[in-house]
Amino acid sequence: MNPPLGMHLLWMTLRQTWKGLLIFSAILVFITWGMTLVYPEFLEMQEEDLSEAQGIKLSWQDEDKDIINLTWHPVPGAVNYTVLENNQSFDISTIIALLGGDPANLTISVAYVGTGTSLVKAVDVNQTWYYTVLIHLADGNMTGTGVVTTKDIGITIYEKMMEDPVYSAFSGGRNINIFSFRGFVDVELMSYWALMVGFYAAYFGVGSVSRDVERKTMDILLSTPLSRRRLLLERGAAVALAMLLLSVVGGIGVLIGGVQAGVDVPAGDVMAAFIGCWPLLVAIGALSMLLSVLLNDQKAAMGLSFALVLVFYVLNYASFLSKGLKSLRWVTPMGYYDHTGLILGDWSRWGDVGAMLALTAAIALLAAWLFQRKELPT
């Protein structure tokens, strides 16, 4: 059989890597499919009040919001309950102090000790108050509830999340509604998709050159009339095909999970969001190949490629955290992948695709030029 364009090396590369590729594809489908299946349960959290924590609930007793009503679940075998009150949150130092550390640091006060399961108490409204309940058990052991705070009364998870710049950064600064299906997929999957698959692109890209060097097959390969440029081209094409496969299967996982979860899945936009990552992944693969050509130490090339993927991700993420950092988006390749825009149906950023293709072409030319001049290590 003669492969298209006589790309024997490309097909041999796929033949040698298909198992690993299949396993990684399966993992990706499992993640995207499994995560999407969780969506209906996730929706139920939408209205959940943050003033309720494990075994404890806080609300205002009156309309003026200066008297709290704290209730907690009765625990079988409880001898009595101690309500701790603090206006500095129960941070780790507070807990340490409480458990027998320096009493001078003990800034909490005991608001109640007894066998009841509720407390009504007037508070200073100018401060935020935190409460937790310690439960003394008959066998001498002690347990506790979660922590609630007056600040969170009447606020939902969604409302709280929206205040958080971290959440905003995960959705590309767009504050997409996480309880919509698009928003859920965007924040819960797409926000780290490029990082996850980017690592694989780096691994695959470095391996395209390093495998033959490390396994000492490069000498035999290059003793045939195969040119070095052609070797890079066909190996690069294998990277591109592998990344396309991963992008597609990731999207398919979401489609299947969405249908199973009974959601009206916006299939085109979901696939656009996944496949839109492809030019970025190809650029990462090309960059990793370049590093593999540049460095004789292939472990160093692998490490550096992974580090770069992480740096690209962090820079892009950071660019959404503050206006001052916004320009970082232009220097990191991850900034050219607007998954939130794509999943919301905005497919207009062809400039991003062009930028990644141009970057890939530039890297490929440089890699070919360097590889041509390289002395192959024995």
Partner: protein
């Protein structure tokens, strides 16, 4: 002209593999390029070839000219520059200075064409472990656009008793070496460059390789092989070059070399034999340790053997010079005047350098 390897019907071979070798030779119509059939200049020509790795010297000032149809041995201890020379010829590494022409082409500018017409067995190499031998060799033929030589590939595999259906990861070291040899010869190259070709091969397979190398040369192919075993090049080569510390210290016809260095004979007798019984027979460097004698024999050995046979022999061994010994002699031995490297170094024409 394309070779026709399909109409060949295997016949019962009374002489076993030798027939196969003969048929491989008879069938081969080569992948040779233009002008290959004519004796158009040297196949390998190195002039002052120099290669430095940074400040570390690989080879320096290597001059060599190898003609069509030669089996050329390239000898030297490990790290002497053999592999560096070979890898420079194949453009895997780049020369620092001098000239390097292979098949009439510059090794760098004409690299692709050289590689098309050359077969190469590296000294250290890996194979694609997960593939079967057949798929791997087929892949290399594909890269050479030379599927038409599949028949020759099978014949070579038969000759080396290599099972094409086996997975490479299951192969022993010797079988891996056979894969390496088959891939170097299978596309019927004009020039075959082999780095330590018999490494890992058992003696029978070594002999088959020697026969193959000789027969390939008989039909105008050139074999350039490196080795650190003088006995190996003795079996097959017409000429040898000896390289040491990156410099070529000698290029000589093998028969001349043999005459010059001879063989070392160890003999132990049952009873005491006077030293005088072995003196004056053409053996030199005669040393006696009790009833054992060690001597170097150059040229005809008949007279010495007959003299030895006149007594009751307990053991008799004869060793070809080991390369280490050869170097020792080249630098220190051969009497007080010693054959210095410069005395030993000759060019093809036999003139001293």
């Amino acid at each position: 002209m394309s070779p026709d390897l399909t109409d060949w019907a295997p016949i019962a071979a009374p002489e076993g593999w030798k027939v196969v070798v003969a048929m491989v030779i008879a069938k081969g119509t080569s992948a040779v390029g233009p002008g290959a059939d004519g004796p158009s200049g040297p196949v390998i020509e190195l002039r002052g070839l120099t290669k430095y790795y940074g400040r570390h010297r690989g080879i320096e000032g290597v001059d060599l000219s190898i003609g069509r149809g030669e089996v050329f041995g390239f000898l030297g201890p490990n790290g002497s520059g053999k592999t560096t020379t070979i890898r420079t010829m194949l453009d895997l590494i780049r020369r620092t200075g001098g000239e390097c022409r292979v098949l009439g082409l510059d090794s760098e500018a004409g690299s692709k064409e050289i590689r098309r017409r050359t077969g190469y067995l590296p000294g250290e190499y890996g194979l694609y472990e997960t593939l079967t031998v057949e798929v791997f060799l087929g892949f290399l033929l594909d890269l050479r656009d030379a599927r038409r030589f599949e028949g020759r590939m099978r014949e070579l595999a038969d000759m080396f008793e290599l099972d094409l259906g086996r997975r490479i990861r299951e192969l022993s070291k010797g079988n891996r070496q056979k894969v390496g040899l088959v891939q170097a010869f299978m596309h019927d190259p004009e020039l075959v460059i082999l780095d330590e070709p018999t490494s890992g091969l058992d003696p029978i397979m070594q002999q088959r390789f020697y026969a193959l190398a000789r027969s390939e040369c008989a039909r105008g192919r050139t074999v350039f092989m490196s080795s650190h075993l003088l006995s190996e090049v003795e079996s097959v080569c017409d000429r040898v070059a000896i390289v040491r510390d990156g410099r070529l210290i000698m290029v000589e016809r093998l028969d001349e070399l043999k005459d010059r260095f001879g063989k070392v004979l160890h003999v132990t007798f049952e009873s005491d034999v006077p030293r005088s019984a072995l003196e004056g027979l053409g053996a030199t460097d005669l040393r006696q340790e009790g009833r054992s004698f060690i001597m170097t024999v150059r040229g005809e050995i008949d007279e010495v053997v007959k003299a030895v046979a006149a007594h009751h022999v307990v053991s008799l061994t004869m060793e070809t010079y080991h390369l280490e010994q050869l170097f020792f002699d080249l630098y220190n031995g051969g009497g007080h005047d010693g054959a210095s490297p410069s005395q030993g170094a000759r060019t093809e024409g036999g003139e001293k350098r």
